[in-house]
């Protein structure tokens, strides 16, 4: 079974803090994704990576950056957290050329 893990289930940070969300997958998938999930808006893609050190902006990249130094790990970085970044963050992975994505359990981030 594909396993996608996220470093925290719940996280509380203060405005202006730098926040790191970590995601690890154990199935040697080339593609990794970061989404945020908000009620009524579904999942919106923040960033996508198709290989180590490669990244593409998704639909809402403003205020976020990512890092992929190893194939199995994809980090989402909030350089200076703001209250409007309070949300559920979901990480996913997939094989190259295969559209089925496998999701982690999510991190619920609250920015105060």
């Amino acid at each position: 079974d594909v396993k996608v893990t996220q470093s925290s289930r719940y996280l509380v940070k203060r405005t202006g803090e730098k926040v790191f969300l970590e995601c690890v997958q154990d199935m040697d998938h080339e593609n990794m994704f970061w989404y945020r999930q908000d009620p009524g808006l579904g999942l919106r893609l923040i960033y996508f990576s198709y290989d180590v050190k490669m990244k593409e902006k998704g639909d809402i990249p403003e205020g976020y950056s990512v890092s992929r130094e190893k194939k199995e790990r994809f980090s989402l970085i909030l350089e200076s957290a703001s209250t409007n970044q309070t949300s559920m963050y979901l990480c996913a992975s997939s094989l190259a050329g295969i559209f089925t994505q496998y999701f982690g359990p999510g991190t619920r981030l609250t920015v105060l």
Binding site: F33, G42, F99, T100
Partner: protein
């Protein structure tokens, strides 16, 4: 740009009743379509997918969805729901080149005893 619309944000239904969750997509090009389910406090799990071939696809727990190209729809149905089907359901579609998906806003299915 690809968009996916789930027409109902919430669907309340009694146990053992049939249910349909509606999904429409906008693309005029070939698409692959997916339904994911999110149980409370969990991540998303793939429920079923349409890639090619038969337009009717089924899941292992009794759900089915039909790809209708002329109506650009991929509605999810189950003839008799169970309390354990209570969850949020997301429709998704491929968005042309690349491996990305576009998701709908989600439909919360609430099964009542």
């Amino acid at each position: 740009a690809q968009s996916v619309t789930q027409l109902d944000s919430q669907v309340p239904v009694f146990e053992e009743a049939p249910v349909e969750l509606r999904c429409n997509y906008s693309s005029s090009v070939s698409v692959y379509l997916f339904w994911y389910v999110q149980y409370p406090n969990q991540g998303l799990q793939l429920l079923l997918k349409y890639l090619s071939g038969s337009t009717l696809v089924e899941s292992i727990n009794g759900f089915e969805a039909e790809f209708n190209k002329s109506q650009t729809s991929f509605h999810l149905r189950k003839p008799s729901v169970h309390i354990s089907d209570t969850a949020e359901y997301f429709c998704a579609a491929t968005r042309g080149a690349g491996n990305m998906l576009t998701f709908g806003g989600g439909t919360r299915l609430m099964v009542k005893p």
